[in-house]
């Protein structure tokens, strides 16, 4: 759709926040990908004589209570945040699209059962509670963490997709496809999905912010990635006891989480604004 296409120059002109967000996310992704080369030191290297140092040379962000370099841990933490955040959004999105499309396209009793019973059941619990319960049941580990957050987060995508599919299903070009003898698969994959993808992408961008925050929360609670893996959330947890005498332990990971969440929010907002206003009304935004 060339007329409604996302124009980067248009976004840049009207929304410098989004450009800043993109630049920051780019930075985080680079950190995540090239952590072993970018980090000045081994993030797990314990150096007790050098513990709790303020930012200085050679530790630009200081050291934590075990003498580990905070900057290196921040860079490796970006890896966890991007990996977990990205995986959670990707899997939630996929699961949400499959369930939402199935419910929305089938309609009738199938839709009523899936929507009212299954989806509303998940929606009635706070996502983080589901995630906590799951990890408590299955134990720590990055796989379990991702599964836990997906379990708590997939319904948001399913609900959006279901609504979009219900609306698009009534459109005449979908009727036309069915009238030609197109199978349900063909109709959903080739006609409905491409026409509903834009609001779903916006939701995914904003969902990244939520996923990063959720991972940090879980790690803060001790239910995320186990030590010595560096995660911004676990760094916040470790720094709690030194809040007053060594605030840099908490400050840097907090700023990192904040910047990551903000950048994805800015990107999501810009994507939403770049959509045709008519499409915005259809989505109900």
């Amino acid at each position: 759709m060339s007329r409604r296409a996302l124009s980067l120059t248009r976004i840049a002109r009207h929304n410098w926040l989004a450009v800043a967000g993109l630049a920051l996310v780019g930075g985080f992704v680079v950190c995540a990908l090239f952590a072993p080369w970018l980090a000045p030191q081994d993030p797990a290297h314990i150096d007790l004589p050098a513990r709790l140092q303020s930012p200085s040379w050679p530790h630009w962000c200081g050291t934590d209570e075990l003498g580990r370099d905070i900057l290196s841990r921040l860079i490796y933490g970006a890896r966890i945040s991007m990996l977990v955040g990205g995986s959670v959004v990707a899997v939630s999105l996929l699961l949400g699209m499959v369930v939402g499309s199935f419910a929305g396209y089938s309609g009738g009793r199938v839709d009523r059962v899936v929507n009212i019973i299954v989806m509303n059941a998940f929606l009635s619990f706070p996502g983080i509670l589901i995630a906590i319960a799951f990890v408590a049941f299955r134990g720590p580990g990055i796989g379990n963490l991702i599964a836990a957050l997906v379990l708590g987060g997939w319904v948001g995508y399913a609900r959006l997709v279901r609504g979009q599919v219900l609306a698009t299903r009534e459109k005449e070009f979908v009727e036309a496809a069915r009238g030609m003898g197109a199978s349900g698969w063909r109709v959903v994959l080739r006609h409905i999905t491409p026409n509903i993808i834009q609001p779903v992408i916006v939701q995914a961008a904003i969902g990244m912010a939520g996923a990063i925050l959720a991972e940090a929360t879980m790690s803060f609670l001790g239910l995320g990635v186990p030590p010595p893996t560096a995660s911004w959330g676990s760094m916040l947890n470790d720094g709690r006891s030194h809040l007053l005498d060594a605030p840099h332990l908490v400050l840097f990971p907090a700023v990192a989480v904040m910047l990551a969440v903000l950048s994805f929010n800015f990107i999501g907002d810009a994507l939403r604004d770049a959509l045709d206003p008519r499409a915005r009304m259809e989505v109900g935004l």
Binding site: R3, R112, F173, E175, A176, G179, A182, N195
Partner: protein
């Protein structure tokens, strides 16, 4: 034997639905309609908005499931046809929609829109596919240059021509034209109506031509059925209906037609 036979077709829509079943109240869009459409003719279906004519059109090609009644197409009972058989039968019955802006997928190029019926039912090489699409474009009076473009780049009349080309792709026997010119202005609409007449001769088509406009229906149809509130109130040849209408509703429809007094 007629090409299309509708027998006691009824379509009822419930007014409320909940998790536990249907509520009370219903609306009868189509009420016990029986109709024959013979090969080669154009049956005009005329009535006001809400009379159920579009619903009847969709029931005739099984785009909608009737609440009761049967539809026979070319000797086959569409209700008891298997999924595969129905899919094969769909090649021969196509539909042209009222809304030229909604009936084409905005994300598909013109070539893919017209070729979609071919993609579903036949397996053609790229070259053969393109040749067929170009042939269809020429039949509806369009140029090959439009192949890589998107629907939003065209006017209503052009989009309707694209929709017609798509409907012709599989060389159907029967086409339901659901108010094909109602969304177009008069001059463009007249061109489309003339195109439909020409294609009927060239391709040997049978039409169910649905419209709320009596003058247009009169021009194209051999027989006319008048629909009111889900029922056929009168049916006859075009001459019979226009010159000696029997039912009061038919008379009021004809009276509402503006005449140009010389």
């Amino acid at each position: 034997m007629a090409l299309v036979e509708l027998r006691n077709l009824t379509k009822v829509y419930p007014l409320t639905e909940s998790l536990f079943g249907r509520g009370r109240g219903e609306t009868r869009a189509v009420n016990n309609v029986s109709l024959d459409i013979f090969a080669g003719e154009t049956l005009g279906l005329v009535g006001e908005s809400g009379s159920g004519k579009s619903t009847l059109g969709r029931l005739a090609i099984r785009l909608l499931e009737p609440t009761s009644g049967t539809v026979w197409f070319d000797g086959h009972d569409l209700g008891s046809a298997s999924a595969g058989e129905l899919r094969r039968l769909r090649r021969h019955m196509q539909i042209i929609f009222q809304d030229p802006f909604g009936s084409l997928d905005p994300r598909f190029r013109v070539e893919d829109i017209i070729a979609e019926p071919l993609d579903i039912h036949e397996h053609l090489s790229r070259a053969a596919r393109r040749r067929k699409v170009v042939e269809l474009l020429h039949a509806v009076g369009l140029d090959d240059s439009i192949l890589p473009r998107y629907p939003h780049e065209f006017s209503g009349g052009q989009r309707q021509r694209i929709g017609i080309a798509r409907a012709l792709a599989l060389r159907p026997k029967f086409i339901v034209a659901d108010e094909p010119v109602s969304a177009l202005d008069v001059v463009v609409g007249a061109q489309i109506v003339n195109l439909l007449a020409k294609l009927q001769r060239e391709f040997g088509l049978t039409y169910l031509f649905i419209s709320h406009s009596m003058p247009v229906v009169r021009y194209l149809s051999t027989r006319i059925a008048v629909m009111y509130r889900g029922e056929i109130v009168e049916i006859g040849t075009t001459e019979q209906i226009t010159e000696s209408p029997a039912h009061p509703y038919t008379r009021s429809l004809l009276e509402a037609t503006p005449e140009i007094v010389a």
